[in-house]
Symmetry: C2
Subunit: 209 residues, 2 copies
DNA sequence: GCTTGAGTTGACTGATCAGTCAAATGGAAA
DNA sequence: TTTCCATTTGACTGATCAGTCAACTCAAGC
């Protein structure tokens, strides 16, 4: 026997990767098991259903992402730099996935959410929950920017959702275009939405020119 | 024998509706045939594969949509009113689909694009093509707004893509939240992105209060 | 009235699907 | 050493999947 839950973790990681690269509907339990080097029985020992695995997989992926977001959105960083750093992070994440799979894969959470929201309530709820968590980071940054007088007074929580909508939209476009280029538009877009000064919008395009 | 291509059209309409409500992966050829009152053989008489049907279905849906967009984006209408009208149209379309199916279904084109872009090149290309067409309407409106001095000088084509990204993002959020509410944020968001005056942004929220 | 061919039918294939299960394995606690 | 239980195995189910096919229907053109 291997480490305690080696197989379980392998199944989660494999499922996450396959679903991200392809889609929930076109990845079968057999594929996941084969790629993870596990047998069907083991799969159903750990997860009651394919749908439950998907929920667990995106949840695990989200947990792994949080330390990065905590760092990027650290209150030690200036508010507008947090947002800029987040845009760069989004780009880099897609870039890494592209190196690995050779295609733009978009946002794993919302790809799954988009595919299954109308059919699987558990997956919809989890996808929604992650969306709300991510908005909290944005809202805090906007709130601090307002406090420091960098942007006008505004509804920070509402605006955070608008910003996140733009992030999702850009990732969806990038996936369909199979081109990372448009993700570069994200930074000026979100600065415009929060009413940052024109200098901020046009300056500092990103740490890669 | 019924009208010339009655069966074919029925298959297209049924497929479009089912895929929009559910997803490509979870709608089978058998389901489509059953709902359309056609037999499997007829299906494969008209379409070489399920994937080809999907391409034809979204193309047909797009063709049906164009007269509406032509009306909304008529050059007889003031540029900013075109954009406002488009936002209302997006809301109304989702509202209609919600009445019919009882759920927010998001954008049919990009839901399919999001699900299959990494796997089916024909579907990705069609989805991309429709995306580009829609951006043209937005670009023309922005261009005219610039010409009339309603908004600052800017890269109209690039900005149109940014706007469309926001539309897609908002529709994706609405689908996952299963709530039309956030679509109401779309109008101020796109006005902000093109740099319209604050009065335009906050005024005229939509024709329903 | 015969031919033609687009459209229709229903039975069929073999693969694959999600999910089940009883029996085997093997490490840890007793 | 024996018991115990989480884990693993591989064979199994019945349903469903996309796609095939030969035979049939029927209106239109000759």
């Amino acid at each position: 026997m291997k480490t305690e839950c080696d197989t379980k973790q392998k199944l989660l990681d494999t499922a996450m990767q396959l679903i991200w690269e392809q889609s929930y509907g076109s990845v079968s339990v057999d594929h996941i098991c084969e790629r993870a080097g596990a047998k069907k029985g083991s799969f159903y020992h750990f997860f009651p259903s394919k749908s439950d695995l998907a929920v667990a997989a995106i949840d695990g992926h989200w947990q792994k992402l949080r330390p990065d977001l905590d760092r990027i959105f650290s209150s030690q960083t200036a508010p507008l730099e947090r947002l800029a750093g987040y845009c760069d992070f989004v780009y880099e994440q897609q870039n890494r996935q592209m190196q690995k799979f050779g295609r733009v894969c978009g946002c794993a959470f919302t790809s799954l959410g988009s595919e299954l929201s109308t059919q699987d309530e558990k997956i919809r709820k989890k996808s929604l929950q992650i969306m709300e968590w991510r908005c909290k980071y944005l809202a805090a940054a906007i709130r601090d920017a307002v406090r420091e007088g960098l942007v006008p007074e505004q509804d920070c929580d509402g605006k955070a959702r608008d910003l996140y909508g733009s992030v999702l939209g850009v990732l969806l476009q990038a996936k369909i275009e199979n081109d990372l280029g448009i993700i570069r538009h994200l930074k000026p877009t979100i600065f415009r939405l929060i009413g940052a000064s024109e200098k901020v919008i046009t300056g500092t395009p990103s740490h890669q020119p």
